[in-house]
Amino acid sequence: MGPTTETTTEPMAGPATSAPAPAKQPPTSGSTANQRKAQRGSATGLLANLALVLYFAFSLLPVLFIVALSLKTNAEQTTTYLWFTPTLENYQTVLGLGDGGSSYVRFFLASLATSTGAVLVSLLIGIPAAYAAARYRFKGSEDLMFTLLSFRFAPELVVIIPLGVIYQQIGLYDTIFGMVWVLQLVTMPLVVWILRSFFQDLPAELEEAALLDGYTRSQAFLKIVLPLVRPGIAAVCLLAFIFAWNNFIFPFTLTSGDAQTVTVSSLAFLGGNQVRFNLVAAGAVMAVLPPLVLALCIQRYLVRGLSFGAVKG
């Protein structure tokens, strides 16, 4: 974000700073100098825009590629060219429309259930936790926050074997509930850490004013504070959902059928006697839809949420 805003503001800053100079010079030469500056400014602006378009194309290429691959036949699946006759056969296969032999829809629903459940549980517990962490300092509160954060950067593989054993023993193996629970390791630290900074940015005097207006502490929180962090909640919702949705290692090791998610189910197309990249691609294209739809729904809050720290004040 930083470099692009710099380049776009530059052409505007150029003529503005040179404005006092023409006063000393004859007006004609002054204005031509200004024009030249302005031309140079728009030239840099054009270059910057060109660079942006190039980068945009570059980053969209993999998306284009995977969509193309999902429309290719088995014979063409290892080719890289984009000129071919598209077919929807892969989607039919993945969804089991042709022979009825796929459980992709079930995996998809399991993914939806675990991710949504994980985000909701994290919000339910994480919002009050983040608020408390932002407002109340007590002995060890920072250690607690750090421990929470360490769930994010500790590799999941470290805990996967004991977790697997425990899940097998207490009957959480291959259940939606078990997945929602274990995904808290992924979503909870995100929710608490991001929302804490949103709460910290709000002056405590807002709540104090609400208290003196006659509202209880919980009313002050619900009526005054919570509506103000809505952009933050939207942003963290999406982030947590994406992380939960994309998680591979937990469903891979802790589910086998009932609660298996789309990320793991794609593996089925790679094993066996034939590698089917085109089917993987079709599954992936469909699997992108829920996060995409969520992002579009909360877009209004999202832009404000993600730029909250940057443009404050």
Partner: protein
């Protein structure tokens, strides 16, 4: 309406002592000003009364009742924050209506509209009721914040620098308006925090002067002006500030006289509670001095001090003259005509009524305790 009793309140923030044994009481319906420089503990005192700050020790009593266990929302106090603390998601009307709609009051809608309308009219923000808070100037925000307080009946109003962000003209008119509200129809107990001595003198029934978390003096505007108990209090009121001259006391035929360190100023100080030989400083208010140009007879009972003009500041009808007497600088405010053709380094005399000289101790440890009776 209620009394407020602050009893030996202490509060530390980490190592910083914010309040150090603060005690004062505010009578029912009284307008009490807390005056002090920034960082003196004014806001902390206010928040302790409101219950937003938990004192380390000491008590706050409201209406004759220990408020220690009463939550802020049940204290029935209205507070105006220096930072306004307006709710950004609400418009002006909803901000001002917030205390009226709270579970404590829960007024019906028509009463809310009526009260908000009346208060907004009074504060000159009636045309802004539909605006968002982010569309207001700082002065308008401050008036809305004040409106959120004045709109409701309360045991007491706590106002934290409610006029500080207004421009000079508006501040003067709002000050008059506040005075009318406070002393007129409402008669609600009010604690008013300010660093502006003019506000304190003009509004307050009584003033408490606070410095570094300690109350130095509580008294009526007349008392704090006429008999400041410390040199700091004397300095807090008046512009130009009171002039201080350091020196000592000597006994001269049974009367005690003050002699400045360099011997250039000598004044009899009859009403002093100190022995000869003690180091003291005297304070002379610029308006207690008269510029004497030698014309006409010298009035009886006045001491004459001779010096030279150090600085001249013409301020419209009056002129502020700083006179150097020996090593000391003394300010005097004189009518423009009296100053006439004076220029810097001209010889000039000042007349002083010894009864109006304030004598303070010269040690900073006790903030220069008052020694004159």
């Amino acid at each position: 309406m209620a009394t407020i009793d602050v009893r030996s309140v202490r509060k530390k923030f980490g190592k910083l002592v914010a309040l150090d044994d603060v005690s004062f009481s505010v009578n029912d319906g009284e307008f009490f000003c807390l005056l002090g420089p920034s960082g003196a503990g004014k806001t902390t005192t206010l928040k302790s009364i409101a219950g937003l700050v938990q004192p380390d020790s000491g008590e706050v009593w409201l209406a004759g009742q220990d408020a220690g266990d009463i939550e802020p929302n049940h204290r029935n106090l209205a507070m105006c924050f220096e930072s306004y603390a307006l709710y950004p998601q609400h418009n002006v009307f909803d901000n001002m209506a917030s205390p009226l709609r709270s579970p404590v009051l829960r007024l019906p809608d028509d009463q809310v509209r009526e009260r908000v309308g009346r208060t907004a009219e009074m504060l000159g923000v009636a045309h802004l009721l539909d605006r968002g808070v982010d569309q207001l100037s700082n002065g308008q925000r401050q008036r809305v914040a004040l409106g959120r307080v004045l709109v409701r009946p309360a045991n007491a109003y706590l106002l934290d620098e409610p006029l500080s962000h207004l421009d000079a003209k508006l501040r003067t008119s709002m000050r008059a308006e506040l005075k009318r509200i406070a002393h007129g129809d409402l008669m609600t107990t009010t604690v008013y925090v300010t660093h502006d001595y003019v506000e304190a003198l003009s509004l307050a029934d009584r003033i408490g002067v606070i410095k570094e978390g300690r109350i130095l003096q509580v008294g009526t505007p007349q008392q704090v002006w006429d008999t400041p108990e410390t040199a700091f209090v004397a300095q807090a009121f008046g512009k130009p500030r009171i002039s201080f001259v350091s020196g000592g006391l000597v006994s001269d035929n049974g009367t005690i006289r003050f002699i400045s360190s360099d011997g250039a100023i000598t004044v009899p100080v009859p009403h002093v509670e100190a022995a000869a030989g003690e180091p003291v400083r005297i304070g002379i208010r610029p308006r207690d001095l008269t510029l004497y140009t030698g014309a006409g007879p010298q009035p009886a009972g006045h001491e004459r001090l001779d010096g030279v003009v150090y600085v001249l500041e013409h301020l419209g009808r009056q002129t502020e003259v700083t006179v150097r007497i020996g090593e000391s600088l003394v300010s005097v405010v004189a009518p423009r005509n009296d100053v006439g053709g004076l220029t810097v380094d001209d010889k000039v005399s000042l007349l002083l009524d010894p009864a109006r000289v304030h004598v303070f101790g010269d040690s900073d440890s006790d903030d220069g305790r008052r020694l004159s009776r």
